[in-house]
């Protein structure tokens, strides 16, 4: 099915925002201005946006250590996120969580997660909650090719099948877990999707660098899951433009690999090409969105720099609801 002009613009705008957000962080982190461990999502924007454009607030997602893209795609506030990464009390998590723990439960974003594989079981719970409420809502667990080897991920898939939970396992295969290739670490007869399939789920596979492939795949998949057919899984072939963490020298990359994926596998460029070729959007309109995204991000950085800082008294609040 065709996306409307408005939908196309919104999708691109979101992807552009993620890109701008991450590239800005890349620069800022190099200066030492921002502390903590930060993992950039650049290169995978089409997955987060292609998935989340189908969701509303009641649909839940659970994310990973590489969570900025998922957060932004699910509608988390750019300034709230930037302030969180800066550690301000005005951050989405009051500066207590930081990059690896950004969450906005009211938006259906149940948290980035510093523990690889920990999100999948949580997504099953969110899915079962939605099933109880009976409105056809789903929950989505984003996992990497590395996370697909963690026991919790398998347990969650089996649990979802057994409980017929409307849970969707989105595997973003960017071919690396930290410094290790998926060819080495993912034992499989075929691919990640085939491992999920062996649990009795229906699975899909698509090019994660092509927004339209992601979007169409998810449309089909979501129709299946929302209809009460139980869980499903999908594997997206995608690319990670930066290192595992900021500062990673990436010696494990092949010669010219980064240049090649930047050139051939950039989901924003591919989107532009598609909509231009099909005469759906003009370059000018897209450029405008890029500019707007950059402006938003720049404003967020300025706001984060000026935002109030926590004090020692804040350490002991928010541990419990009732003490």
């Amino acid at each position: 099915m065709q996306l409307s002009r408005e939908q196309l613009l919104q999708a691109y705008r979101r992807m552009a925002t993620i890109r701008a957000f991450e590239e800005r962080l890349h620069d800022v982190i190099a200066t030492g201005e921002v502390a903590g461990f930060t993992h950039l999502y650049c290169g995978q924007e089409a997955v987060a946006v292609g998935v989340c454009e189908h969701l509303d607030t009641e649909d839940k997602i659970v994310s990973t250590h590489r969570g900025h893209g998922h957060c932004l795609a699910k509608g988390c506030d750019v300034q709230g996120m930037m302030k969180e990464i800066w550690g301000s009390t005005e951050g989405l998590c009051k500066g207590k969580g930081g990059s690896m723990h950004i969450a906005d439960v009211d938006k259906g974003m149940l948290g980035a997660n510093g523990i690889v594989g920990a999100g999948a079981p949580i997504a099953v719970g969110a899915a079962l909650s939605n099933k109880l409420d009976g409105e056809g809502r789903v929950a989505i667990a984003f996992s990497g090719d590395g996370a697909c080897n963690q026991g919790t991920t398998f347990e969650a898939m089996n649990m979802a099948v057994v409980t017929n939970a409307p849970c969707i396992f989105v595997f973003e295969n960017n071919h690396y877990s930290e410094h290790t290739g998926d060819d080495y670490a993912v034992g499989t007869a075929n691919d990640i999707a085939s491992r999920a399939e062996a649990f009795g789920m229906r699975v899909w596979r698509a090019d994660g660098c092509d927004f339209f492939a992601v979007y169409e795949t998810m449309r089909e998949l979501l129709e299946y899951v929302r209809a009460g057919n139980g869980p499903a899984a999908v594997e997206f072939d995608t690319e990670r433009f930066y290192g595992h963490f900021e500062g990673d020298p990436q010696n494990y990359r092949g010669d010219g690999e980064l240049d090649r994926i930047r050139k051939e596998r950039d989901c924003l460029q591919i989107f532009r090409q598609r909509v231009s070729e099909a005469g759906l959007l003009e370059t000018d309109a897209l450029d405008e969105l890029d500019k707007a995204a950059h402006a938003d991000v720049e404003a967020a950085v300025e706001a984060a720099r000026a935002a109030p800082r926590p004090t020692a008294e804040d350490v002991l609040t928010d541990v419990y609801v009732t003490y």
């Binding site: 839940k60 439960v105 099953v124 541990v319």
Partner: protein
């Protein structure tokens, strides 16, 4: 007042809470039993019989039988709780926190904090702990010493059916993650239970016996052990102020300190091995905050620094006994 067994107190309280609030959901291995069998569901209702009949009454969407996947059980509870439900999950044996600790410690215990206080995670995780069944090193352990140290978790250790009901209501209705530790040797114990919808707040110790000679602090199964010793010593005119903590996080520090202020002597009974356990926690509290009241060295009666052994004689020697409690009390009283 009605007479009720500890295990029945668990189950009936869950049943009432499920009836009262449809967001309460039960999950765990064999909490239904008989799923996918010719004999059909509801064959067991939990190996401790703490969920018998709930499936029949509330159906498969609210009483969820799970595969053997404890991490996924706790994680699923976490996801339900973040989404506004009130899951009551069963881990069967407390020893299985080993295969699910991340979800307890790093996930449900920290969501609220990591998310800046903007969410609630009202998950209750029930588990049977403790020794006495010759179940050996992997089915007999205490875990409160591990869980109490984890910020974000609350830890409850009821010792009577009455407390089960009051504390479990508080746990299910509360908005924080609660580790509800049921001693497996108490399941078959009966006790008087008040009528009505009472709750017991966390962080309030119960005075089991009153006395001014020595303070004894215990939890769970150890309350009965200490009480037996206290009753025997009462005949000799020794007055034991025996406190059942009921919850170890939060802990009723005031009750302990107030008591030691009067008695000046402290014996702590803990079924866990001796290192970094609740006994050391309480000893440290008193050494820090009631030092000037203390008139004798603190005494600890704990399990030894070994795994729980299998054989009858070994497990008997392993578990703290009333004799050991009595000896510790007499030792502290003899100190001048």
């Amino acid at each position: 007042m009605a007479e009720m067994m500890y295990r029945d107190a668990v189950r009936e309280t869950i049943r009432e809470e499920m009836a009262r609030d449809e967001s309460v959901v039960v999950l765990g291995e064999d909490v239904v039993g008989g799923m996918g069998t010719a004999g059909g569901p509801e064959a067991i209702g939990g190996i401790w019989s703490t969920s018998t009949g709930l499936f029949e009454q509330f159906g498969a969407s609210r009483v969820i039988d799970t595969p053997i996947s404890e991490s996924a059980i706790v994680g699923t509870a976490g996801g339900l709780a973040l989404s506004g439900k009130r899951p009551v999950a069963e881990l069967m044996f407390a020893d299985f926190i080993g295969v699910s600790l991340d979800q307890l410690w790093n996930q449900i215990g920290k969501f609220r904090y990591m998310f800046g206080g903007k969410t609630r995670c009202p998950a209750v995780i029930r588990m049977a702990y403790g020794g006495g069944y010759n179940a050996a090193a992997q089915h007999s352990q205490c875990v409160h010493q591990i869980l109490t140290g984890m910020p974000g978790l609350k830890v409850v250790m009821p010792s009577t059916p009455e407390d089960v009901r009051g504390l479990l209501r508080t746990a299910i209705r509360g908005d924080d993650p609660v580790m509800f530790l049921e001693h497996k040797a108490l399941y078959g114990v009966s006790g008087e239970v008040p009528e009505g919808d009472y709750t017991i707040p966390f962080g309030h110790a119960r005075q089991v016996t009153a006395g001014e000679d020595v303070t004894v602090v215990a939890t769970g199964m150890m309350v009965g052990v200490a009480e037996a010793a206290a009753e025997r010593m009462a005949e000799d005119g020794i007055g034991v102020d025996l406190l059942d903590l009921r919850t170890t996080s939060p802990m009723d520090e005031e009750a302990i300190l107030d008591s030691v202020e009067v008695t000046g002597r402290l014996v702590i009974v803990d079924e866990a091995p001796p290192r970094c356990n609740l006994a050391t926690d309480i000893a440290a509290l008193v050494a820090r905050k009631a030092f000037s009241s203390l008139r004798a060295p603190v005494e600890m009666v704990t399990a030894p620094h070994s795994p729980v052994p299998f054989a009858l004689e070994l497990e008997q020697a392993y578990l703290p006994s009333d004799d050991q409690v009595e000896a510790a009390v007499r030792k502290t009283l003899d100190y001048r």
